[in-house]
């Protein structure tokens, strides 16, 4: 029977190819995601293990809690280096400084596309992962060495001037040497610079401290043993790890970051593609089963059991699934390479290593591809077994309805109910975030399936409605197209459903993003009273004295900064949240709090123990005005606060807001996120004045409030475009689905088309009727997708309304999506319409 399946695949190459393509692309996206993220992880693995190669033990400041936001911790006392050297078994110990900042060449900040610019002090030791290829390490203050990639990109040589922008200010330096790090000429997109130890301490506000102490063990002492001894000898604030452990932890952090964002997003998009593929396979098999009805009847008449007929079709699906999945894996490598290229084009520089296909990738790809293909073919295969043997003797009999088809509405209702249950559980239920997101995803998939199952009941009237204008435009072709699309509602429904899913997700993303953007804009307009916003480029912070310096600009009325750091709240339920530090006396001049309790008068009286809470945080902490709570900084500093006011601000100042004095007590290091400025004069002149005052801080970007808003909206748009690009894959797959359906229905109607041609229909009319049928199908899919997407977005935004995302429908964009649906329909019809028009009249009429 498998031979029959195999032959059938070979005999219908175009159909097999189009069907397989649907699953191939889905598998490619999934395996490509793994290949893509695996190579990043691997690249970082290599870099970190190289970086820590000569280091047996490394000591850093203990972070009191770990957080997704990468809480910054300060350094260790410089004196600890001596303490370490005194421990038995230590061969060599060096302390060094590391920090993040930015550099400018010729007054222009060197952009990194999101990666950090890392400074670390030079240590003359075999432990160091740096090796100099040109010049010498920095030895005098004001000297700096740059990584080879940076030197090449910026054309830097020995003696070139480089401006360093660090926590404590801006410094002019000269290049003393060029090095490679861990044998790499660059580390991903990040910029690496070597400083002198003293400059490091000065620049990063680490006077008398070191960021890290690296240790090598004496002969005969294992790193583990040494780490144990050091742990015993040093205070609790020292976090002692073996080099191996530190490398593993560092690269685990990268993997986790990939695992919490990039992987799930890309995999979900791959999942959408696979789901779309499932509908196409289902449809393709349903149609071929209908066409091969008499073949199955013949097999049954010759004594084939139902099971054998079932096997011949599932066998076909199996062969197709295996081939498509294997090819999908190969294409997945290309997909990964494509994403690499895309990232490069978007200036997101990520370290890459060779593309590797891990066993996990192969297994997941094959299992998903093969099982989805088989599952999608099961229902058509069951229908094939219902073909009675006597059908071999009858012409024109239709496929018997599936045994349980009369239960379809109930099954669909049950599936929909399960879907709703999944989504509700995801939104309100218990369990980890991952579990809940999974429940929501499963719920959404089930709802899609339910809509698809039910759509065959309303697709005919909808097709009639959508087709109506076409019957006006072109009487014959329009009429034919409309009737053909209504003739087999189940088929039209399944074809349209494939597009519905792809577009549904696109619309969901679009509506959600629109909500996000408009909430941000509304929130910003509501709270920000300032005329100007000064923020740092490259995701950096501003020098701590920026706000103070701007106060002296003549045109400036008020200048107030916002410091932001991550803290952990105390009490039974430890949660990480953000702590905002503001200048209590002036902040209300630039900021209009949306008070729930309290008013602007509480601000100046915050002192060191008063705090204002954003509504959400107050609720999650379960505190009211007058209650107390405590927080802990990553460095382990603790502070207690009394709630003095509660405000609503889900987009900007989330978490806890305290006065600068309280903020500094928790974190002595400056984390100036932005400075808000109100000015007195004309906008153009003021902006120039502000820029002039900050001329020595190239990272500072002076924007009017409107420009700042545009920038934030722009960054949402950029992410959105990336998502659209990836979702386009699903839409393309559904396009192939429409091609497939049309090719098969044209084939089915060969005789009919021949007859139409014989009685005088022109090729053009035939082509047009196919094209219109295609457009009717794709518009149904488009409309359904838009409706479903809006409903999903509505449900999700309503649920997360507290997080500040409003429900807002981007009308113009929806029109664009509908136009895309029409375009998909027109494109999909090109090949089938040509085939239909080329049908030979004589052959068609004699066609059996």
């Amino acid at each position: 029977m498998i031979r029959i399946a195999w032959r059938s695949l070979l005999a219908h190459k175009l159909r097999s190819f189009l069907t397989a393509l649907a699953i191939l692309l889905g598998v490619a996206m999934i395996s490509g995601t793994y290949v893509f993220t695996d190579q990043i992880s691997r690249a970082f693995d290599e870099i970190y293990s190289e970086a820590f190669k000569g280091t047996d033990v490394t000591i850093t400041r203990t972070s009191s809690f770990s957080s997704d936001y990468g809480a910054a911790v300060g350094g260790l006392p410089e004196s600890m280096v001596e303490d370490v050297r005194a421990v038995d078994g230590v061969k060599e110990a060096n302390g060094y400084i590391s920090g993040m900042g930015a550099i400018a060449v010729d007054g222009e900040v060197v952009e990194t596309g999101g990666s950090p610019t890392l400074f670390f002090s030079y240590v003359p030791s075999a432990m160091s992962a740096t090796s100099y290829v040109e010049g010498d390490p920095p030895t005098k203050p004001g000297e700096i060495a740059v990584v080879k990639g940076l030197a090449e990109d910026e054309g830097l040589g020995i003696g070139s001037p480089v401006t360093v922008i660090a926590d404590t200010g801006t410094y002019e330096t000269r290049v003393s040497g060029v090095f490679t790090f861990a044998s790499e000429s660059s580390l991903g997109g990040s910029l690496l610079l070597n400083t002198t130890f003293e400059d490091g301490q000065l620049w990063f506000d680490l006077d008398g401290q070191v960021s890290e102490i690296d240790v090598t063990a004496a002969d005969g002492v294992s790193p583990d043993a040494l780490a144990t001894r050091l742990r015993a000898a040093l205070p609790e604030e020292a976090d002692v790890k073996t080099g191996e452990q530190a490398a593993a932890d560092a690269s685990q952090q990268i993997s986790d970051a990939l695992g919490t964002f990039i992987n799930p997003v890309l995999l979900s998009l791959g999942g959408v593609a696979v789901l779309v593929g499932a509908f196409i396979i289902f449809n393709a098999f349903s149609m071929t089963v209908a066409q091969r009805r008499r073949e199955f009847a013949l097999l049954r008449a010759l004594g084939a059991l139902r099971r054998q007929v079932m096997w011949s079709i599932t066998g076909e699906a199996l062969v197709m699934g295996v081939l498509a999945s294997v090819l999908g894996l190969v294409v997945g490598m290309g997909f990964a390479a494509g994403v690499n290229a895309l990232m490069k084009a978007l200036n997101v520089d990520i370290p890459t290593s060779s593309l590797v296909m891990q066993p996990r990738t192969v297994i997941v790809g094959l299992v998903v591809g093969i099982s989805i293909t088989l599952l999608s073919a099961v229902v058509p295969a069951l229908r094939a077994t219902r073909v009675p043997p006597v059908a071999a003797l009858q012409e024109g009999a239709t496929l018997p309805a599936a045994r349980y088809s009369r239960f379809t509405p109930y099954v669909a209702a049950a599936v929909a109910a399960l879907g709703v249950l999944g989504m509700v559980n995801g939104m309100y239920g218990v369990g980890s975030t991952t579990q809940r997101l999974l429940a929501m995803a499963v719920g959404a998939v089930l709802l899609f399936v339910a809509v698809a199952m039910l759509s065959k009941y309303f697709v005919a009237p909808v097709a009639g409605f959508i087709g109506w204008p076409l019957t006006r435009v072109a009487k014959t072709s329009g009429r034919l197209a409309r009737d053909n699309s209504m003739r087999n509602p189940a088929r039209t429904a399944a074809t349209a459903s494939a597009l519905m899913i792809g577009l549904g997700v696109v619309v969901f993303v679009a509506v959600f993003a629109q909500g996000l953007k408009s909430s941000f804009v509304d929130g910003f307009d509501q709270v920000v009273r300032a005329d100007y916003v000064v923020a740092a480029t490259n995701y950096l912070t501003l020098p701590g004295d920026t706000a103070r310096r701007l106060e002296y600009v003549p045109a400036v009325d008020t200048s107030a900064g916002v410091n932001i750091q991550v803290v952990q709240t105390g009490g039974a339920k430890k949660t990480t949240t953000t702590l905002n530090g503001v200048e209590p006396s002036t902040f209300s001049k630039v900021w209009s709090f949306d008070w729930i309790e309290g008013d602007d008068t509480v601000l100046p009286k915050l002192g060191t123990d008063g705090a204002l809470l954003e509504e959400q945080t107050a609720r999650s902490l379960g505190v009211k005005v007058g209650d107390s709570f405590s927080v802990q900084s990553p460095e382990g500093e603790k502070a207690g606060f009394e709630v003095r006011g509660i405000y609503r601000d889900p987009m900007m100042l989330v978490g806890i807001t305290v006065g600068d004095a309280a903020y500094d007590r928790l974190s002595p290091r400056s984390q100036l996120y932005m400075v808000l400025v109100t000015a007195t004069g004309a906008q153009g002149a003021d902006k120039a004045a502000l820029e002039g005052a900050l001329a020595d801080v190239p990272t500072a970007d002076v924007m009017t409030a409107a420009e700042y808003k545009d920038m934030m909206v722009g960054s949402i748009n950029q992410l959105l475009n990336l998502l659209y690009g990836l979702l386009a894959m699903s839409v393309i797959i559904s396009l192939f689905g429409i091609v497939n359906t049309l090719v098969l229905s044209v084939y089915e109607r060969t005789r009919e088309i021949g007859l139409l041609r014989a009685i005088g229909a022109s090729r053009r009319q035939i082509r047009r009727s196919v094209r219109y049928e295609s457009v009717i199908t794709s518009v149904i899919g488009g409309v359904l997708g838009i409706l479903v997407g809006i409903v999903f977005a509505y449900v999700v935004t309503t649920r997360f309304g507290g997080m500040g995302i409003k429900f807002s429908v981007p009308g113009a964009q929806l029109v664009v999506f509908l136009v895309i649906a029409v375009v998909v329909g027109v494109l999909a019809a090109i090949l089938p319409a040509r085939r239909a028009a080329r049908i030979d009249i004589l052959e068609a009429i004699h066609y059996e």
């Binding site: 059938s8 073949e295 010759l302």
Partner: protein
């Protein structure tokens, strides 16, 4: 009940007479008794068969004839287990088939029955040889190589075995179908208008093949046809009219057959 009135159905009406078949009904492969078949219910009911008793004799070729709508196809479907009678019993090679379950019927078709249809006898994706061996493939049995070889020689398609059906002429396709039907040595072979789609020359080749399979291999064949020429190779001819067997004749010449057909058509 008119349909149950067996006496009436077996009485030859007035018209041209034929020589009754002299075949020994005791050695019958297919035995049908009191077959009626109604489609629909109440006033709209159509009585396709109104009570048919028939025995298909082993090793003989029986032709079932009759104008369209006479019930000849329905009778064949019921004898072959493809359709269920409203009332009556059918035995094939000693097995009562009207009470069989779907799975047992499939088994029966596989083991005891061969089919040749008017069109679409072959799977388009398989070669001629593969199509001939298809019943064995389905049954998961190893074919009798010698028998297959003999059949291929008999149908004269040794040089066409690797061809797909689309590459064969209509007559060649039908000869492949005959070989396919014979390959499992069925107790009875049902042929439904086997020459209906062929020109007279290729039709003759197929008829010759059927005749030889009866004479040389002792195959029992039941052939439904409306073609007098095809029916002239039969050992016995049954004429149906309005759901009843109206003539049961021995060998007849083509002209005699025409005469009977004409008289039946005049009756409408």
């Amino acid at each position: 009940m008119e349909t149950m009135d067996r006496e009436a159905t077996q009485t030859a009406p007035a018209g041209p007479a034929c020589e009754a078949s002299d075949l020994d009904a005791a050695d019958a492969v297919v035995v049908a008794r009191g077959i009626t078949r109604d489609y629909g219910e109440g006033d709209a009911a159509v009585h396709a068969l109104r009570g048919v008793d028939v025995d298909m004799v082993r090793g003989r070729l029986t032709a079932i004839m009759g104008p369209s709508g006479s019930g000849k196809s329905t009778l064949m479907h019921i004898l072959a287990g493809l359709d269920e009678p409203t009332a009556g019993t059918v035995e094939v090679d000693g097995i009562e088939i009207t009470s069989l379950k779907e799975r047992e019927l499939t088994q029966l078709r596989r083991d005891k029955i061969g089919f040749i249809f008017q069109t679409l006898n072959l799977l388009p994706t398989l070669t001629a040889q593969e199509n001939i061996e298809l019943p064995m493939t389905i049954a998961g049995r190893k074919g009798d190589g010698q028998w297959v070889g003999q059949l291929i020689d008999t149908v004269g398609l040794a040089d066409r075995l690797d061809h797909k059906p689309a590459e064969l002429s209509g007559g060649q396709q039908q000869r492949v179908a005959v070989a396919r039907a014979l390959v499992g040595r069925p107790a009875v072979l049902f042929a439904d208008e086997p020459t209906g789609n062929l020109d007279s020359k290729t039709g003759d080749q197929v008829l010759d093949l059927l005749r030889r399979s009866v004479d040389d291999f002792g195959q029992t064949i039941v052939m439904v046809t409306h073609d007098a020429h095809a029916a002239s190779i039969a050992d016995r001819l049954l004429f149906l009219h309005d759901g009843r067997i109206v003539y049961d004749c021995g060998r007849m010449a083509r002209d005699e057959i025409f005469e009977v057909i004409k008289s039946l058509e005049d009756r409408r």
